[in-house]
């Protein structure tokens, strides 16, 4: 019966190491948030939202065009991705276990793992090259492709959580499958589906790589679908790798706006998810 003491020490060291791992992950999080907030707050002003970028050498200015551009791009992406994403999710939840549904699930998982830069290359090939024109549409397509798998899997998961009794009740009343799905099941899962869409939006709003050669960038204000358009992320990239002090400040301000947006979306989604599980439990 030797070694109990040694083993207890090893066990305690292991527990300590695991706790340390958590701290180790929280350090970069704290550092990133600290710099983004402290640097960003200094650079952020109302001008940032309402003014256009100024040329090098002039201080001030903002990212009004990029903010509008990001809204446009994510809006286009949602228009494209929500129908495909949600309905694919409906298919997976309604007809699980078929060979086609495994194929769809496999495709969704695959798409989720495709590097964002590769999605950009694809969107360039199908939406930029044929028209010889960078465009908001191409950027929206690239972001939309990235949103689809997230929405599909969330929708599937949440629809499967809807109690079977609800579905059977609707079908027993003589409703068609379509009726049952759209009048009973989807509404019951709607808060969750919206949560999924919000999370997907938050994720693609922060994407840069797929926009570099699809939406490209635009120094000017543009709402045309067929013209290149600016976005917060691409603008931030341009500023970050530039040698100008003033542009760096703008970059930090942009980062603060992005992080705030992502943070709010995550918190909202978390609250919504907590509410959904609470309702389900009661």
């Amino acid at each position: 019966m030797r070694r109990t003491g040694v083993r207890r020490v090893i066990s305690a060291l292991f527990v300590g190491a695991c706790g340390l791992a958590v701290l180790l992950a929280l350090v970069p999080l704290a550092l990133i948030l600290f710099f983004v907030i402290s640097q960003g707050v200094q650079a952020l002003s109302l001008d940032f939202f309402t003014h256009m970028p100024r040329p090098v050498g002039e201080t001030g200015g903002g990212m009004a065009n990029a903010i509008v551009g990001t809204l446009m791009l994510t809006g286009l992406a949602a228009l494209f991705a929500v129908p495909i994403g949600v309905l694919s999710g409906v298919y997976l939840a309604e007809y699980p276990g078929t060979r086609f549904s495994s194929l769809v699930r496999f495709a969704a998982d695959t798409l989720n793992g495709v590097p964002s830069i590769v999605v950009g290359v694809f969107a360039y090939g199908v939406a930029v090259l044929p028209f010889k024109q960078f465009s908001a549409l191409a950027g929206g397509l690239a972001l939309g492709i990235m949103m689809i798998p997230i929405i599909t899997r969330t929708t599937e998961e949440l629809l499967l959580l809807v109690p079977g009794a609800l579905r059977e009740g609707a079908l027993a009343l003589g409703a068609t499958r379509a009726r049952a799905v759209f009048s009973v099941i989807v509404p019951a899962a709607l808060p969750g589906i919206i949560t999924g869409v919000v999370l997907a939006l938050a994720r693609v709003a922060g994407e840069t790589a797929p926009l570099l050669f699809t939406a490209f960038n635009n120094r000017f204000f543009s709402t045309s679908l067929t013209q290149p358009v600016s976005s917060i992320t691409v603008q931030l990239f341009t500023y970050a790798i530039s040698p100008y002090e003033d542009w760096h400040r703008q970059a930090w301000a942009g980062a603060l706006v992005l992080v705030t947006f992502v943070l709010i979306c995550s918190l909202l989604a978390r609250l919504a998810a907590a509410r959904v599980t609470r309702i389900r439990r009661s």
């Binding site: 019966m1 030797r2 109990t4 207890r8």
Partner: protein, 274 residues
Amino acid sequence: MSPTVTLPPHPVPARPSRTGPAGAPKIEAEALSFFYGPKQALHDISVRIQPNVVTAFIGPSGCGKSTFLRTLNRMNDIVPGARVDGQVRVDGQDIYGPSVDVVALRRKVGMVFQKSNPFPKSIFENVAYGLRINGMATSRSELAGRVEESLKQAALWDEVKDRLHESALAMSGGQQQRLCIARALAIRPEILLMDEPASALDPIATQRIEELVYGLKRDYTIVIVTHNMQQAARVSDHTAFFWLGKLVEFDRTDKIFTAPAEKLTEDYVTGRFG
């Protein structure tokens, strides 16, 4: 290490009792209450469990018999929010005392679970696990010897001796459960707690487990939880009846089944409820 003195299975004919037949106890619980968070699962339980007999805990599901069993080797420690009041003494020592080494306690008080839970390793490695982590074998040959001895004790050796290095998960359910018994015996506990060990098994596998339990009591103090009254009657010397987290009656098994002191016990063992 295990006591060689065998006490007679029915020590002293006793008065109808709640704490069980008289004699020097191996395990003794005194005013034990148990809580999961705010919910009280056991109320003020006092029992004295004799060495080298088989003690059965019976009662309807949810009556606390398994919970009580798990307080005897502090298995409930790993449940978040669990709390214990009162005392449990093994060989006179309070196992909830501040200086108790839980690891050493669990070595002394082995446990077999309701569902067999072999590790996804070979048959040999399953039995060797406890020996290895506790550093109880100093050489390969000693390790192999103790694995063989334990498998023999669990009446499994003849069935598996040619495939010791195959996966334990390939065995039948009954074999897996006997493997888990062998694994528990390998570290030479003094007490063996069995939580409905045959509830997931077919009648033939169940019979083998029961024979095993009968044979093991010469060397071990055995406490077995069962929802099957025939099983309790077949294998045990003493029986405790639990009801809603309380101990109703604890006495010699023949007495519990033929002349219980409590009306509630009588109703249960005659199948009037439960």
